[in-house]
């Protein structure tokens, strides 16, 4: 008579010294059973062994239980490993994980005060950290938006024994350009200069960039309208008055009018023809500075004072170069050292004490990232401490909340839920909390990122940082929040003591848990940290 109840305790399979292969098959299913989650391990072992025994009885009745049928049984026994692995992995199937997420969301929604407290604690911490991270991303990791392969772009600057990364003269640049240097794919130079742009009766102060003819090609920047410079436009001084506008300036000043291409504008009272607009998202090749207009280098005498193109002693230009694929800085440096020594011999008055150094963008003293990078790193460390305090607070909240949940854990454990299932459920809840806190923090970034720019000193330079929400920032927020919050959420107490010890008083369990998990760190270490932060923020009373 079949019964719907599971067997309370499976009978041990009959041992039979005369049937070594059959015993081997029983051993195999016994081993496979260890892969099965413990809450239904016994039932599965019983099912497999019963099938083997039934087949043996059937074959023995027909007097056909020879070697060949036993080998077949061994094959079938080996097949149950696949079943065991399927049972083990089925705990991590997508629908099961979604079930955990739904259950976790129900729990968080069911405790709105706790959820709001945790999210409002985590949100500002994540928001502050993500704000600084967004600036580091914009200034150091993605310093020149719109430029292809920024990591291969280097700055070639002068050195004078004390300083490095100095501006260079145009004749020095020409020598560098015309000398075949190993490891360099191309070299460009330019300078950033204020200009007056006049159209009709309206004159505007703009920031222009004098750029060599290969400027856009080297940076991998195309024109969104019209074209960029042609090589012949950078050959002879004062002969090709053409200009390329930045996309943002075109939108701001000319409201995106495509008819501006081919029209004439006055730059420092000299007529220039607008030949095109640079690609959207390109702001120039100066970190954190936005260029409005690009003019060929050969038009320098028309837009800036003096003739800088002939003077070797006038160090006015920033030189940038693209590394060839596979080239190293050291290899390029060796090549420019040879050239620098030759220039020092040839022009001792202007180049006698000058060398040439090749620097990555982030180390160049001419770039804002070299100044702002260390400041931002210190800021990141500070807000990281704030985030750590927030995470510690939320971890404490979770631990306190874990105490009354002991019964909540004990009941599923008693009816067969595995440890893995409980740990996965707790981790899912913590991750959901981290995600909600991260989302709150990232909402903050939209405003705080702009607010940070307000703390910069007033400057006539067109300072521009494209900091904001980016996909990698989401990953950063998740990465910095999840581990500390999640690691505090494991039902270790219940695991250690088992279900019987779970109904304990909230206060006892919470106190023990906090002392055990955070202990000296929580009580002794965090208090000075909190006090120091209070002092720093001016919150200390009296």
């Amino acid at each position: 008579m079949p019964s719907s109840r599971r067997p309370e305790r499976p009978e041990p399979a009959t041992s039979d010294p005369a049937r070594p292969l059959f015993r081997f098959a029983l051993t195999i299913v016994g081993l496979a059973a260890w892969l099965v989650p413990d809450w239904h391990r016994a039932a599965r072992r019983c099912q497999w062994q019963a099938d083997l025994c039934e087949r043996r009885r059937y074959l023995e009745r027909r007097q056909a239980f020879g070697v060949s049928p036993q080998v077949d049984l061994v094959g079938r026994a080996l097949g149950v490993f696949r079943h065991a692995i399927w049972l083990r992995t089925s705990e991590w199937r997508l629908e099961v994980l979604l079930q955990d997420v739904r259950f976790g969301l129900r729990l968080l929604v069911g405790r709105p005060a706790f959820t709001a407290t945790a999210v409002l604690t985590l949100g500002p911490g994540i928001g502050a950290t993500a704000t600084i991270a967004s600036w580091i991303d914009a200034l150091v990791l993605r310093p020149l938006p719109g430029v292809m392969e920024t990591d291969r772009l280097v700055e070639v600057g002068g050195t004078d024994g004390l300083r490095t990364g100095l501006a260079m003269s145009y004749p020095d640049y020409v020598d560098l350009r015309d000398q075949p240097l190993p490891g360099l794919a191309g070299i460009t130079c330019g300078t950033f200069w204020p200009m007056t742009l006049r159209v009709g009766n309206q004159a505007d102060r703009v920031w222009g960039r004098l750029a060599s003819g290969n400027y856009f090609d080297l940076l991998g920047v195309r024109a969104s309208q019209g074209r960029t410079f042609r090589p012949e436009e950078d050959q002879t001084p004062n002969t090709h008055p053409v200009a390329v506008l930045s996309h943002r300036f075109w939108q701001r000043r000319f409201q995106g009018d495509p008819g501006i291409v081919g029209r004439s504008v006055l730059l420092n009272e000299r007529a220039f023809t607008v030949i095109g607009m640079a690609a959207e998202g390109f702001y120039g090749s100066d970190v954190a500075l936005e260029s409005d207009v690009f003019v060929p280098m050969m038009m320098q005498p028309a837009v800036t004072p003096g003739d800088l193109l002939q003077s070797r002693g006038n160090h006015e230009f920033k030189v940038q170069a693209g590394l060839a694929p596979g080239a190293s800085l050291a290899r390029v440096q060796a090549g420019v050292d040879v050239l620098a020594r030759r220039l020092a011999r040839l022009y001792p008055e202007t180049n006698g004490n000058r060398g040439i150094a090749v620097l990555p963008l982030w180390r160049s003293p001419q770039e804002a990232s070299s100044v702002m990078g260390p400041v931002l790193a210190v800021l990141l460390a500070m807000v990281g401490v704030v985030l750590l305090v927030a995470c510690a607070n939320v971890a404490s909240l979770l631990l306190v909340r874990a105490a009354p949940r002991q019964r909540e854990v004990a009941v599923p454990r008693a009816i067969g839920a595995s440890r893995g299932q409980m740990v996965r459920q707790f981790l899912t809840e913590s991750l959901l909390l981290a995600l909600m806190g991260g989302a709150a923090g990232l909402v903050m970034v939209r405003w705080t990122s702009g607010l940070l720019a307000g703390f910069l000193p007033a400057t006539p330079f067109p300072f521009f940082v494209e900091a904001g929400l980016r996909p990698r920032l989401f990953l950063f927020a998740l990465a910095v929040t999840s581990p500390p919050v999640s690691s505090s959420a494991r039902p270790r107490r219940c695991r250690r003591h088992g279900p019987t010890s779970c109904p304990r008083t909230l206060v006892t369990v919470a106190r023990e848990e906090i002392q055990a998990r955070l202990g000296r760190f929580s009580v002794e270490t965090m208090q000075p940290v909190n006090r120091a932060l209070d002092d720093a923020l001016g919150l200390t009373r009296g």
Partner: protein
């Protein structure tokens, strides 16, 4: 009942159970499938509600000195699903026939 597309192997297992093969090795013999395929499929079918399993009375198993067996039976849903699947598979025609009469494909 959620409409689930059953694979050929799964239909074979359902049909074997409907034919009176009620436990693991009998189903393997009837379908020609391996134990690594049949056991997970049975669990999946049970979670879909197409089959149900019952354990043999432990007293009988103890008397026979062997572990109790796990029997599988079709549910009402399983019978409907099997009938649907068989009808669908029977409606299949050889590709050559479909090519010969494209208008009736």
């Amino acid at each position: 009942m959620p409409r689930t597309t059953l694979s050929l192997g799964t239909v074979a297992i359902l049909r074997a159970i409907a034919s009176g093969n009620r436990f693991g090795f009998d189903i393997m013999d009837a379908t020609g499938l391996t134990s690594g395929t049949v056991y997970p499929s049975l669990d999946r079918l049970e979670s879909l509600g197409l089959v149900e399993s019952t354990w043999e009375d432990p007293r009988i198993a103890r008397r026979d000195k062997r572990p109790p067996r796990r029997y599988f039976d079709l549910t009402a849903q399983g019978e409907v699903a099997l009938a649907d699947a068989l009808e669908r598979y029977r409606s299949f025609r050889p590709v050559s026939a479909v090519v010969a009469t494209p208008g009736k494909a």
